[in-house]
């Protein structure tokens, strides 16, 4: 379980949230992360250190590289976010279903 204070503090930074969103796509090295974010590798490394300290990502050793990925508990957190998001979207469209039901049949005079 991530340390909640450290996790929230880590998530307060938009770059770190973006890094997490990228890691939701799969494992990545510092170099792979630095490229789309137009950041230097040391800058990315500093962010990764914070994320790792918060228990949001884990890193493994592969030769000279240390690829990182989301920690399983962080994935559960992200899943919850996505579920919330999907729920909000689904709610909009469910409401639209109801609105559409009242719009039919069409009144031709309303057409542009």
């Amino acid at each position: 379980m991530p340390n909640l204070d450290a996790a929230f503090s880590a998530l307060a930074d938009p770059t770190r949230r973006a890094i997490l969103a990228r890691l939701a796509l799969g494992e990545a090295t510092v170099m792979e992360l630095a490229q789309p974010f137009e950041m230097t590798q040391p800058a990315v490394s500093r962010h990764l250190k914070v994320l790792e300290g918060a228990g949001l990502i884990i890193r493994r050793v592969e030769g000279t590289k240390r690829p990182c990925r989301l920690a399983p508990d962080a994935i559960a957190g992200v899943d919850q976010w996505l579920a919330m998001l999907r729920q909000a979207l689904a709610k909009n469209y469910d409401r639209l279903d109801d609105v559409l039901a009242t719009m039919q049949p069409q009144e031709p005079k309303d057409r542009p």
Partner: protein, 154 residues
């Protein structure tokens, strides 16, 4: 079978599809007439859209303002690029939270699907970082203009 799908495409796109049991004309009007938009484009329970400007013509303005009635709110502004009644809309939009986020180019198509409609909304962000940032900020707000890599989860 799910009525709605959300997925990312390449580095900069997000694609949403949804089927509706109404003809394309009705679904198109529900996306372009302010009094109708205010009934459904609201996000989580408790939110309303007190301001809805939607000038459905090329170059026309879009402005949606949401509030939860407890002092929290944000807005979206945009412009129409092209409208083909009742099949296609192209527009640009950006969230303000309160600073303006980068432009999101959106193409929405409404295709006949049996007696109903298949709506496909294809969003194009300037780059992968912007998409990731949009997804992350949107997740916090639990609102709809935000999407991360969702295909495996949805």
């Amino acid at each position: 079978m799910s009525k709605m799908t959300i997925k990312t495409e390449g580095d900069t796109h997000v694609v949403i599809t949804r089927r509706f049991a109404a003809p394309p004309e009705a679904v198109y009007r529900a996306h372009t007439e302010p009094s109708v938009i205010q009934k459904w484009l609201l996000g989580p329970d408790g939110w309303t859209m007190p301001v809805c400007i939607n000038e459905a013509r090329p170059g026309g303005r879009i402005r949606y303002e949401w509030t939860n009635g407890k002092g929290n709110g944000f807005h979206v502004t945009g412009e129409y690029v092209e409208l083909v009644p009742f099949s296609r809309i192209r527009h640009v939009e950006r969230m303000h939270m309160p600073d303006a986020c980068p432009d999101n180019h959106v193409e929405t198509t409404f295709e006949p699907d049996g007696a109903g409609t298949l709506m496909t909304m294809r969003m194009t962000l300037p780059d992968a970082q912007t998409r990731a940032a949009m997804l992350a900020s949107g997740m916090e707000h639990g609102m709809e203009a935000s999407y991360v890599r969702l295909e495996t989860i949805i």
